[in-house]
Each structure stands twice: as structure tokens, then as C-alpha cells.
């Protein structure tokens, strides 16, 4: 926990250091990123391609549908199958500092937690937390009136803690060794890719990204390729109607370990964001999404419904 705290403090200190340089930068009337007079609506799971300075937070919870957890299988036959549901919680901070018109540096801290909501799922899935600290560079490659293309490179430092009674019992029965109910897995990986934005007209815009990376797997001694990709289509009504709202439909697929706690699998997130878009320096919204996510010892991906509150303040 101290390590987590020190990472949060490091992020905030870095933000303050970088922020001291902002006073020298030009103050524009509207800091929300725009192309072709379209002011984009940011979405948590679709990283922004814009080279600007901002601080964002998001806080969300999700509840999974019911799933069957196979506790014991002999010759392909399920001996015990316990049903249950999971509760997910996610907290995310990110600070990005524009250094030049063409380059920005960002820091991100993410904490996800998953736990069984009933005795059965608590026994089989336990309590899992993954904290992630990431640093990355964002570089503008191409910009026209309507289109922006950027590239990013980031390093992700994950620390996962799994508290599982079932795994503890399995280890005892199978290996007859002194084991621990709590298991920690440190992981480090890097990923990089492209991000883009396209302002279709004053109302509609599209953002997207695709990343590929390589690094530690949840399986000890193994490394995996990781990926994430996604896009968002948004409609900002604030500047074409009297309604100060915007809507964004998004899709994201990821195998990054902070998102997917099972090695070699990926999750799919689709959703809708409703956002207040009349702010000239900030964006505030609610993201509702449906998540199809793999969980340990369950063959099928589990459906979950999530609600996120997200906010972003633009400095320039």
C-alpha cells in the first residue's frame, strides 16, 4: 500500500512540477481539443491523440452476471460447480503534460479490484487487486484541419495481488507444500501504437487507437504479446443546438493485465457516454458499458455492466 501511495504522490509531484511551466503557455479561450470545429468528447477507454495538458479521473463499479465456477473436474466431468457473481471497482488518475506542440508526457495510476459478492464466488474467485503505474510519451505524427494522427509509447508496471481460498486449498491438496493464501505477481510490459481523431463536421467526430506490446504474463516465467484497440464516435450537441450535452458510443478490446486478470485472454468493452460538453476547460460525464471479460477457472467470458463517472480538466 505504501508503494501505491508513493506512486500516487510521485504522479502528483510530477504534475505540479510540469504545471509550473504552464503559466508561460498561451491561454486559449476553449481548451477542449477540436478538429474541423468539432469539440471531441473524451472517453476513458479510448486514449486521446491530442497533444495537450490535462488531468483526468474516473471512478467506476461493475457487477457481473451469474457464472458457474468449476472447482473440480475429473475426466472432463464437473464434480462441483458453484454459481456466483463478481463486483468490480476501478479508480484511475492520469496527468498529461504538453511539452511541445508535437510531444507530450503522461503519467497514469490505475487500481482495479474484483471480489465475489456471495460466499460461493468469494471462495472460488477470491479478492483480486491490480495496481498499475504507467508512464508514456505521445508524439504527433500528422495533423490536418480534420485529421490528427499520433503515436504513443508507454511502460506499464503492474502489481497484482490474488487472495484465493480455493487456490490455497488446491496447492495444499495437490502439492502438500506450505503455501500462502495471498499470491503476488509483479508484471512489467511496454506497448506502443497509434491514435487518431477525425472531425467529421461540427457535430460528429471519431477517435481511435491501436496498440501492441510485449511483457510479463500472469504465468510465471512467461512473456506475452499484449494488445488493445478501440474507437469512439461522438456527437457534440453543445455548439449546434442549445443542448449542452454530448454522446459518445465506444468500443474497446484489450489484453492488458490491468484489464484482464487471465493470461492470454482479452476483454471487450462497449458502451455509451453521456457528457456535459459546454465547459470550455473541462468535461464531465457518465459512462455506461457492457463488458465481456474472462475470469479465472470459468470457460466462458462473463458479461458485466459498469457505470463510470469520469472527468477531465484541460489546462491548455
Amino acid at each position: 500500500m505504501n508503494a501505491n501511495l508513493s506512486k500516487i504522490i510521485a504522479t502528483i509531484v510530477a504534475a505540479l512540477i510540469f504545471q509550473s511551466n504552464i503559466s508561460a503557455q498561451e491561454d486559449k479561450e476553449n481548451n477542449v481539443p477540436q478538429l474541423n470545429d468539432h469539440f471531441f468528447i473524451p472517453v476513458t477507454v479510448v486514449p486521446s491523440p491530442f497533444i495537450n495538458s490535462y488531468f483526468r479521473t474516473s471512478l467506476g463499479v461493475a457487477q457481473s452476471g451469474e457464472f458457474e465456477n468449476v472447482v473440480l473436474e475429473i475426466d472432463g466431468e464437473k464434480i462441483i460447480g458453484l454459481r456466483g457473481t463478481l463486483l468490480f471497482a476501478d479508480l484511475d488518475f492520469e496527468y498529461q503534460q504538453k511539452i511541445k506542440d508535437w510531444i507530450a508526457l503522461y503519467f497514469n495510476y490505475n487500481l482495479t479490484a474484483r471480489l465475489g459478492t456471495e460466499l460461493q464466488s468469494l471462495l472460488t474467485q477470491g479478492v483480486n487487486t491490480v495496481s498499475t503505474f504507467r508512464i508514456g510519451w505521445l508524439v504527433r505524427i500528422l495533423e490536418t484541419e480534420k485529421f490528427l494522427l499520433s503515436a504513443d509509447l508507454q511502460v506499464n508496471n503492474h502489481s497484482a495481488t490474488f487472495i484465493s481460498i480455493s487456490e490455497f486449498v488446491k496447492d495444499l491438496v495437490r502439492d502438500s507444500v506450505v503455501t500462502s493464501i495471498s499470491r503476488q505477481v509483479p508484471m512489467l510490459n511496454m506497448n506502443g501504437g497509434i491514435r487518431f481523431a477525425y472531425g467529421i463536421n461540427r457535430t460528429f467526430g471519431v477517435q481511435g487507437f491501436a496498440d501492441l506490446g510485449y511483457g510479463d504474463s500472469y504465468r510465471r516465467g512467461e512473456s506475452d504479446f499484449i494488445y488493445r484497440l478501440g474507437c469512439a464516435v461522438d456527437a457534440n450537441l453543445a455548439f449546434t443546438t442549445k443542448v449542452p450535452l454530448g454522446f459518445s458510443a465506444f468500443y474497446m478490446s484489450s489484453s492488458l493485465p490491468d484489464y484482464v486478470h487471465v493470461a492470454g485472454k482479452s476483454a471487450i468493452n462497449t458502451g455509451l457516454k453521456i457528457s456535459y460538453t459546454a465547459g470550455q476547460h473541462y468535461n464531465f460525464g457518465i459512462e455506461l458499458s457492457r463488458l465481456r471479460i474472462p475470469i479465472p477457472n470459468v470457460a466462458e467470458k462473463v458479461n458485466s455492466t459498469s457505470v463510470f463517472v469520469s472527468s477531465r480538466y484541460y489546462f491548455n
Binding site: 511539452i99 511541445k100 510531444i103 510465471r220 516465467g221 512467461e222
Partner: protein, 220 residues
């Protein structure tokens, strides 16, 4: 040994390159708080160890506000290992120092220095190659050489920010940097049955740099 030869050959090459490009040459010294991260012996935790580093700097100008910097560096760093004990008086769990893991390395950071609009700030991003020379485990009563436990090459990603103070045509810079090891520090531990298969090295560095121009400096 060959790697060290390559390291110094690279330094010579960079010095020659720096001499012909419009660039800066200088030296640096600073303190660093190193720490191992990842797997640790059961119940033990890693804590930072404050040490020092020093070296030379070559800044090769690519654009008005962009330099390619190479900084051959001698780095003393490492990490402390702490073990838990129960404080019965206050009924809390505390950690005490057990062993200091000390590493001496030659490092070769290769990074970009991006200069801010007002020429006062520099932002740093790049990679660093590290070549451990010696590693010691120090438990206050004796030191044990554990160099064989570490890989001969380490790759890190470096980030930082610095403040530049101009002094005539030269300048003094104070850099605050963070280095995140990307490769495993420990040797032959990729075995899944190994006790500690994943150990990385991270460090925070506060460095003072003095840079002198090589050749005639163009006025911006």
C-alpha cells in the same frame, strides 16, 4: 569484459561525433535512490538505497530545441531488504533493515533532451543500457560478492525533467529523473519454479550537470 570494451568504444565515438556537430560537452554528478521491484524473498520488502552517480555528457544538437544526449555514467546504487517484526509495545508490525544489496554499474543513457519555449526547462526521455560491474550483499558484519547472480546487461527506460541555468555560453542544469528497468536484473531466474523470477531495478535521480559548448554557439 567485451561489453565494457564496447561501452568505452561507444564513448569515444560519441566524443568524436560531438566534436564535429554543434553540441555541448559536460559532466554530471548526483544522488540516486535505487530500489529493486518485483519478487522479493518471502515476507521481505524492498526499500530505496541512497547512493551516488557521476559521469560525462554529450549533447548533439538535432534541432533548435532538440538534442540527442549520451551520458556515460558510473552508478552506485542498489536496494535495501527489510524484514517484518512485531512491535509488542505498540502492537504494530514494523520493518527493519536486513541486507543492503549494492550494485556498481557503468551505464550508457541515450535520450532526447527537449527544450521548452523559454529555454529554462528540459524534458528527458530515452533508454539506458546498464552493465553491472560488481554486486555486493552487505549485512553490516560482512560483504558477500553476488555479482554472478546478476545479468551482465540491463535495459531501462528513462524519464526526467530539468531546469537550465545559463552561465555565459555554458549552462548548469538540475535534473530530476526516473529510470524503470525493463529487463530482469537477476540471472537465470526465468524458470517458473524459481524463487524470485522477476526483479527489476528502478531509481530516482537528482543530478547536477554542467555543460560547455563545443565550437561556436549559434544565437537563437
Amino acid at each position: 569484459m567485451n561489453l565494457k570494451f564496447v561501452f568505452f568504444l561507444g564513448c569515444l565515438f560519441l566524443f568524436a561525433t560531438g566534436a564535429i556537430a554543434q553540441s555541448y560537452f559536460g559532466f554530471h554528478t548526483g544522488i540516486n535512490s535505487g530500489k529493486f521491484s518485483g519478487d522479493s524473498p518471502r515476507n521481505f520488502i524492498y526499500k530505496g538505497l541512497l547512493q551516488f552517480n557521476a559521469g560525462f555528457d554529450f549533447d548533439i544538437k538535432l534541432k533548435k530545441d532538440l538534442y540527442l544526449a549520451v551520458s556515460p555514467n558510473y552508478l552506485r546504487s542498489g536496494s535495501r531488504l527489510q524484514y517484518p517484526y512485531e512491535n509488542e509495545e505498540e502492537e504494530i508490525k514494523e520493518y527493519r533493515d536486513s541486507i543492503k544489496l549494492k550494485i556498481q554499474m557503468l551505464t550508457l543513457p541515450i535520450h532526447l533532451n527537449i527544450i521548452s519555449e523559454n529555454d529554462k526547462w528540459q524534458y528527458i526521455g530515452g533508454f539506458e543500457l546498464g552493465f553491472p560491474v560488481q554486486a555486493l550483499a552487505d549485512n553490516t558484519s560482512k560483504e558477500i560478492d553476488i555479482s554472478d547472480e546478476f545479468n551482465s546487461v540491463m535495459v531501462s527506460m528513462i524519464f526526467g525533467v530539468g531546469y537550465r541555468i545559463p552561465i555565459a555560453e555554458s549552462y548548469l542544469a538540475i535534473n530530476l529523473g526516473y529510470s524503470q528497468g525493463l529487463t530482469n536484473l537477476a540471472r537465470n531466474l526465468e524458470d517458473p519454479e524459481s524463487y524470485m523470477p522477476r526483479i527489476r531495478f528502478t531509481s530516482f535521480r537528482l543530478t547536477t550537470i554542467y555543460m560547455l559548448p563545443i565550437g561556436k554557439v549559434a544565437k537563437n
